[in-house]
Symmetry: C2
Subunit: 325 residues, 2 copies
């Protein structure tokens, strides 16, 4: 576990060492701000792990790609928060709330360019390949966000469509982070695809788990309001599955729950949960999560390196997926 | 003039050949839309001219960089129009007006990524250098746009600050387009910087001219409402120079003109023009434009190639700068 222990330090230090210009302050202050709302830095960590897996030890040379991924993630948070009209992010004001939408649009743009600046700092012979991968991931994330917005106004979304949306919106970035690391480590083509798929499937499982926890998580450890997605009528794997299985006899009930604006919050949550229970929706969602978890581990297993070398990645995956139900 | 004649055709064809995905339509339709509001395609043209100047004849290989520059330009238009709350662009609805702000933010983001995708299609040995240049330009454009927004709420802006703002916001992209071409043509370091500076100074002169034409242009050929900037109290080189030269005796008059909301539009324009005349502001602005035009041509002159090879670029510069006053 020595490696895992120094990686967060390396990433923390790299972020500390970044020196954005002082001016124009309305461009760079929001960037400093969003980066300081320290998330778990899982994505930059995946870049390091993706290279380390293939025996690459020159960790310093991985830091630009790590930063590129973290910058991209934060760029997408700034812009998504505008589109979602979200007032809070990690308990603090979102950028457009703290400043305004124009500042949030432009500082997001600048942060995206900054991500590409870090790509340009990567080992030079790898830049064309890194750039191509990064672009592909970035475009899929945009497509996923568009699908997410489209789904909000659509009555029915199929399970396949929903999973494709979360794959693009959140999972390809995890796969992409690992892939950047693997590219720098000069891993074989096949292995690069395997580690990418591992990240993508892990990401899908993680996102499904997030949907499940929103309803069934332990209120003491979950951190958000349990049932928040139900109250906001948000599309999640749970209501996508419910819509798919709902029999005519319950359709009226469900429809009135979804369209109601007056009901007591706790009651709405309780009634929707009753329907979930009747159709065993949690079980179906858990199965789906297990399915993608299995796929992820199969991808990892298929990489022909010593099992001990996979320990760090397995542990990270476990820590992401085993949370209190 | 053979070259100049085929370049627009090449660029037109390259744009025609682009095949954006059909779905998600809310992501790609706005991109198709903004690109169809055909501007003059000066920027992609500059990429071709910047390479041709140094004897590069493999025009097909320049098209990805051309597209990257054109995409970047259109990305910045989409986002700037949101920030400026502009309803119209080239006589048509802006993207956020035709769809909504969320669609405009996200399709702009995707278009920026598409620009980087085209960079990844450039001659592979040049990609690291092209990427670095492109990032630098892109970041300056963001900084320039932020300065422009900051200036709107500031009472005084110095001449130097104003010119630095237009340099970043609009001129570095012209220089950058030429530079990308010169890099692909494997021009010498010094010459790359010279052609870049030529573009930047040409861009500044062009932007100053734009400010001047807004007030003194021929209403029959100008295309926009003459005096529009005065009515909108927009910061331009004219009012920046006026503020710098204005004597105490006229300060009251000017202040009341700027802050008035009720005056008859034609009167406001006439009265501001009277002050411009009194302080010879147009002449000062013209001088400044000449200064940057001279600088641009000096840069071009200093490039050690046959004069005949510079003909196309000179002609383009002339066509940009000689407009009916």
């Amino acid at each position: 576990m020595v490696k895992n222990a120094i990686f967060p330090t390396l990433i923390h230090q790299a972020l500390e060492d970044v020196n954005f210009p002082a001016q124009p302050s309305n461009l760079y202050d929001p960037i400093r701000y969003i980066l300081s709302l320290s998330g778990k830095r899982i994505r930059p960590m995946l870049v390091l792990l993706g290279a380390d897996l293939f025996g690459y030890k020159d960790y310093e040379k991985l830091l630009p790609a790590s930063l590129a991924i973290e910058y991209f993630h934060n760029f997408s948070l700034i812009h998504d928060d505008i589109m979602d009209n979200a007032p809070l992010r990690r308990g603090q004001n979102t950028v457009h709330q703290e400043w305004n939408s124009s500042v949030a649009i432009l500082s997001g743009d600048a942060l995206l360019v900054k991500a590409y600046e870090e790509l340009a700092n990567c080992p030079v012979d790898k830049i064309p390949s890194l750039l191509k991968t990064f672009n592909q991931v970035a475009l899929e994330v945009c497509e996923g966000q568009q699908l997410d917005m489209d789904f909000e106004t659509r009555e029915r979304v199929s399970r396949e469509e929903y999973i494709e949306m979360i794959r693009q919106k959140t999972s390809v970035l995890l796969g992409g982070a690992l892939k950047l690391g693997a590219i720098i480590a000069a891993a074989k083509e096949d292995d690069i695809e395997r580690i990418y798929n591992f990240g993508v499937n892990l990401g899908i499982a993680f996102q499904l788990q997030d949907d499940i926890l929103d309803v069934y998580g332990d209120p003491n450890t979950f951190g958000k309001q349990v049932g928040g997605d139900i109250l906001a009528d948000k599309k999640t794997i749970l209501n996508v599955l419910l819509q798919q299985h709902l029999k005519d006899v319950d359709k009226q009930t469900y429809q009135s729950l979804v369209s109601s604006t007056e009901s007591v919050p706790e009651e709405k949550i309780a009634q929707v949960k009753e329907l979930y229970a009747k159709y065993q929706i949690k079980e179906l969602a858990d199965e789906l999560k297990e399915h993608f978890t299995d796929l992820a581990y199969k991808d990892l297993d298929s990489i022909q390196i010593e099992e001990s070398g996979k320990k760090d990645l397995s542990e990270l995956a476990n820590s992401l997926l085993v949370r209190s139900f």
